[in-house]
């Protein structure tokens, strides 16, 4: 049976001409001998021929076109997906960030803080005392105590000025030397106090003793950073108070002129205690003024370490005969000056900037972290002394304005001149006399105690324009002489018209 099937399969293959020669010979042998096989071959042939009758499918002329369109379509599909890949990636990143932020909401703040720390770190590098950097003299330290200003570098081109606004809040300004109050304050003080060279030496030594204490209060570096310890304001008061106490001992008569009420023993104790506290306090809070930001931060200035380093540096310099690299603080301010203004105003500063001056108002809390309540008790003393020293040393008139008139006091050659001008009755004589007697044009030489303090100009009763117009000495003198003549003429005319003119001119000498 199996043999028959094999023979039939061979017969089918014989029909297809797919047999080897031996197989073919075998099949042909079978065919010769078997009618059944012959019939089977015929049947298979008929079936095979049926295939020839099968019609082929008509050609499709559009097949390639459709195929290629389909292939292109699939390519576009994938490129469309590729085109959306960036958006999809962005969406995924956004989702990831959202998830991260949900579970770690302080992340951005932390990154921001880290960034701030990094920037702050950069500007805090290599800070050194301005005392050394600017090579401060006794004159500079005295000027600081007396005029609130300190040079910021060796070239004396930039100055730091401390001040208080009308509400008593501290501010500081960094200004160019063009706007510095040019005074020989120390020498003026010595002359006002009439101190001999020996006494001057004593004052020198007192000032010298503060150099060390001031060391860590104002730091600068070559990255144009200025680090101001808010304690600097207290230092200024304390140094000034100490100088007053010392000057009382040196020249009591002159001192009484400056501080008529004198200094009580209690006040002296406060001064000593305040100084002691300040010297023993190393506040690590600083206000950093940098070329691109102003921020408050901590900085630990180790004076001993610094001293050690400086000694080491000195040795090296001597050994290598190298020169210390001098640097110049060069801070240029423009309107783009920014500060790290946090939402919380306690960390922010109000900054006023023009081409020459940068003024920074300091929030109240920034100043003394050190509680010095006693300071308040000596403040009136300091204020009184300041005014009087200005009065005696710099011949700046005291001008008191009231509802009824203006009282002007002026010191010259140990004499005090006092003039009162009433509003009620036009006192032409007093004005005329005052002009002739007080050498008023000399006022133009005086500038306000606080630079840029317009209130002083207002106190002088000089209109700004008027002040500037007659700033030139010659012109001012000429104008005043003309005014004097006119006033005298007017006075005569008024007398003739029986108008009552009240004149009150007092001239007193004070010892």
């Amino acid at each position: 049976m199996k043999k028959d099937l094999q023979n039939l399969e061979l017969l089918s293959a014989y029909l297809d001409n797919e047999l080897t020669q031996s197989e073919k010979a075998e099949v042909e042998k079978l065919l010769v001998s078997s009618l059944e096989m012959q019939k089977k071959l015929e049947d298979l042939k008929k079936v095979k021929q049926l295939g020839n009758n099968v019609k082929r499918i008509p050609e499709s002329p559009y097949f390639e076109t459709r195929l290629m369109a389909s292939i292109e379509g699939q390519k576009n599909e994938s490129s469309r997906i590729k085109r959306w890949m960036p958006a999809a990636a962005l969406a995924i990143v956004t989702i990831v960030i959202m998830v991260v932020m949900k579970f770690n909401p302080g992340l951005i703040d932390k990154m921001w803080e880290d960034q701030k720390v990094a920037v702050a770190g950069f500007y805090k590098e290599n800070l050194q005392p301005v005392l050394l950097a600017a090579n401060l003299t006794n004159e500079d330290v005295f000027n600081f105590a007396f005029n609130n200003e300190l040079p910021l570098d060796n070239t004396r081109k930039k100055y730091l000025l401390l001040g208080y606004d009308d509400s008593g809040k501290e501010f500081f300004e960094i200004r160019s030397s063009d706007h510095k109050v040019k005074r020989e304050s120390y020498n003026e003080f010595i002359s006002a106090m009439n101190l001999d060279p020996g006494q001057k030496k004593t004052v020198d030594s007192i000032i010298g003793s503060y150099s060390k204490a001031l060391e860590g209060q104002l730091l600068v570096n070559d990255k144009n950073t200025i680090a101001i310890n808010p304690n600097l304001w207290n230092y200024r008061k304390a140094i000034f108070a100490d100088l007053l106490v010392a000057s009382e001992k040196l020249n009591k008569i002159k001192f009484d002129r400056i501080v008529p009420a004198g200094i009580t023993n209690a006040e002296k104790v406060v001064v000593v205690n305040t100084l002691e506290k300040l010297k023993n306090t190393s506040g690590d809070q600083y206000i950093f003024v940098t070329p691109d930001s102003i921020f408050a931060g901590t900085y630990e200035f180790n004076s001993e370490l610094f001293e050690k380093e400086m000694k080491e540096l000195d040795k090296q310099i001597k050994f290598n005969e190298e020169k210390i690299k001098q640097f110049t603080i060069n801070i240029r301010y423009d309107s783009s000056f920014m500060n790290f203004a946090d939402d919380d105003t306690k960390h922010s500063f109000r900054i006023i900037v023009d081409s020459n001056i940068c003024r920074v108002d300091i929030p109240e809390h920034q100043i003394p972290e050190i509680p010095i309540p006693e300071m308040a008790t000596i403040e009136p003393l300091i204020e009184q002394a300041t005014n009087n020293i200005h009065f005696y040393a710099y011949k700046i008139p005291k001008i008191e304005k009231s509802e009824s008139g203006i009282k002007i006091e002026y010191y010259n050659d140990d004499s005090v001149y006092s003039y009162v001008v009433d509003y009620d009755m036009l006192n032409m004589d007093s004005i005329a006399s005052a002009n002739s007697g007080t050498d008023l044009y000399n006022l133009s030489k005086f500038k306000p105690v606080k630079p840029f303090d317009d209130t002083m100009l207002i106190k002088y009763q000089f209109d700004r324009d008027y002040y500037h117009r007659y700033y030139s000495d010659d012109e001012f003198k000429k104008q005043m002489e003309e005014l004097q003549k006119e006033l005298q003429q007017l006075s005569e005319e008024m007398k003739n018209q029986s108008i009552k003119v009240h004149t009150e001119v007092t001239k007193s000498r004070k010892k």
Partner: protein, 198 residues
């Protein structure tokens, strides 16, 4: 780009050699995408015909043929030149047809018999006298494993060797299946012998 002359030569299907297909494929691999169109032109009708007879449904031909050539397009870069391109092409064609038939059989189980285009051994008897139609219907009633070798041999004229390579089976199996296919076809056509004779 293949030159027009070369394209003309390639389009002459009278004598196709291995080298012809190989050179076209090399052009394609070298980045000439138009070579693929030449390849399609040369082989599409044979592919379409195998599909047509295997599926016994003209409506499906172009869909399946497209499927075949898209597969070729995607994989042509990896062609290894170890066998004839046509062997690879027809194997893909047969496999696609098998896939479709399998799907249709599955669908047949869950669908009403009269639904759609399916033609099976249970379908309505042939009503027209077209021999071609009768034979195709009869072939479509063959089991797939007998149908494929028979079509490739008796309609497409493949050698046993080619059928063996295309269907990936032994020569003996091909020989046996062709015989059995013929026997089965004869059996199916027995009732229609008179019509066929006419």
């Amino acid at each position: 780009m293949i030159s027009n002359e070369k394209e003309k030569d390639l389009q002459q299907p009278q004598i196709l050699s291995i080298d012809d297909d190989y050179s076209i494929i090399r052009h394609f691999i070298d980045g000439d995408k138009s070579a693929f169109q030449v390849l399609v032109k040369r082989h599409k009708e044979k592919v379409r015909n195998i599909i047509y007879i295997t599926m016994n449904n003209s409506a499906l031909v172009d869909d399946i043929a497209q499927d075949v050539f898209i597969t070729v397009y995607r994989n042509l870069k990896h062609f290894r030149f170890e066998s004839q391109f046509t062997t690879w092409l027809y194997r893909i064609t047969v496999n696609r047809c098998k896939d479709y038939l399998r799907k249709m059989n599955v669908r047949k189980i869950f669908s009403p018999i009269e639904d759609g285009y399916e033609v099976s051994e249970y379908s309505t008897p042939v009503e027209n006298n077209d021999v071609s139609r009768i034979v195709m219907d009869a072939i479509s009633k063959l089991p797939t494993k007998l149908r494929m070798p028979l079509i490739l041999k008796d309609i497409e004229g493949f050698s046993y060797q080619e059928i063996s390579e295309t269907l990936n089976c032994e020569m003996g199996t091909v020989k046996s299946r062709i015989f059995r296919g013929r026997e089965k076809l004869k059996e199916i056509l027995q009732p229609l012998e008179k019509e066929l004779m006419n």
